[in-house]
Symmetry: C2
Subunit: 200 residues, 2 copies
């Protein structure tokens, strides 16, 4: 089995959406798989400080332009959601259920949720939206919705947050490859070289 | 006369050092010149909050590794200075003197100062070090040293800081091309496309 690229993200992170669209091709070039690790940035920020980019002086205004421009740079569509940031607990629990029970569908489900939020402007805090994303990814919609109240996936999300603390995550997207951490969509160029040519 | 890429930086910024080594080639590909704009990040942070990356929880430790790895990614040497951050007032005043009186030597002087700090580990708060950098760039060392006490270059630095506020700078390096702002060494890929192929 090939080694993985651990990809930590929160569904409310714009640069994580962009990274989610790019990472499979990058992993493939290096013969790696992608280990999708949904987590909750709010608990990271609670621990070490920080908050949404869009709320920061000067950087907030810049970021709104940069999200869209960076998407265009990669030929991706991005329509910044009116409701931002979003509570992503339900989406993350559903993703962790898919990860445990139908891992082969996880990448597709992750992208469906990101696109619902960052392309179609849907409200991913709504069960109906998560259900549609699940169906589109081949996941049973009812199972995805029930994940939100199932102690197994509640616990899985707590464990996921704990794991993101353990890898010293401080922002999203955050990648760990062979124990080496890379932060940001803009570090995927370095991740690509790392998995293709080895450590540098 | 070709249009410029405005390159705002502080001599104590590691990613600005990396950008300074890359930007001439990028500008050339797009038929642009580089307008070097030394400024003082401290006054930016005083206005909007913020501080050295290295002081931030988790991000600090990550950054120390990322500075070196990112330098290697671009085949550059980087030895993180023992004294960090540095007071860069003297270096900036000298650079602004060169910018006004011998602009054709400015890029070289800027790179000499960055290399003294980030490659050779020299103390760029010392007049002797700035003098050596000046000589290496073909600038009169005494003139560079006297810049620090000359009201013209004191005023020029105040104006430079004011200008960085006006372009809404919030971190370094910061680029402005055709009125469009790009933040970070990692945005030079987008700057390159912008100057080669136009806005996107």
């Amino acid at each position: 089995m090939s080694k993985s690229i651990d990809f930590f993200f929160d569904f409310t992170s714009p640069y994580s959406y962009i990274a989610a669209e790019r990472i499979e091709a990058i992993a493939e070039k290096g013969g790696r798989t992608v280990n999708y690790c949904p987590t909750l940035l709010g608990f990271i920020f609670k621990e070490i400080g920080g908050g949404p980019l869009t709320a920061m002086p000067r950087k907030g205004e810049y970021s709104l332009n940069d999200f869209s421009r960076t998407a265009r740079f990669y030929d991706l569509e991005l329509n910044f959601p009116k409701a931002f940031p979003a509570n992503t607990v339900m989406a993350a629990r559903a993703a962790l259920m898919v990860k445990a029970l139908q891992p082969e569908l996880l990448g597709r489900f992750v992208r469906e949720v990101f696109r619902a939020y960052f392309v179609s402007g849907q409200d991913i805090t709504q069960a109906s939206v998560i259900g549609v994303c699940a169906s589109a990814a081949g996941v049973d919609a009812n199972a995805a919705l029930q994940a939100n109240d199932d102690p197994r996936w509640k616990d899985a999300l707590k464990a996921a947050v704990q794991q993101s603390h353990e890898v010293k995550m401080f922002g999203a997207p955050y990648f760990v490859v062979d124990g080496e951490a890379f932060w940001g969509n803009d570090r995927l160029d370095q991740v690509e070289r790392w998995v293709k040519d080895g450590p540098f």
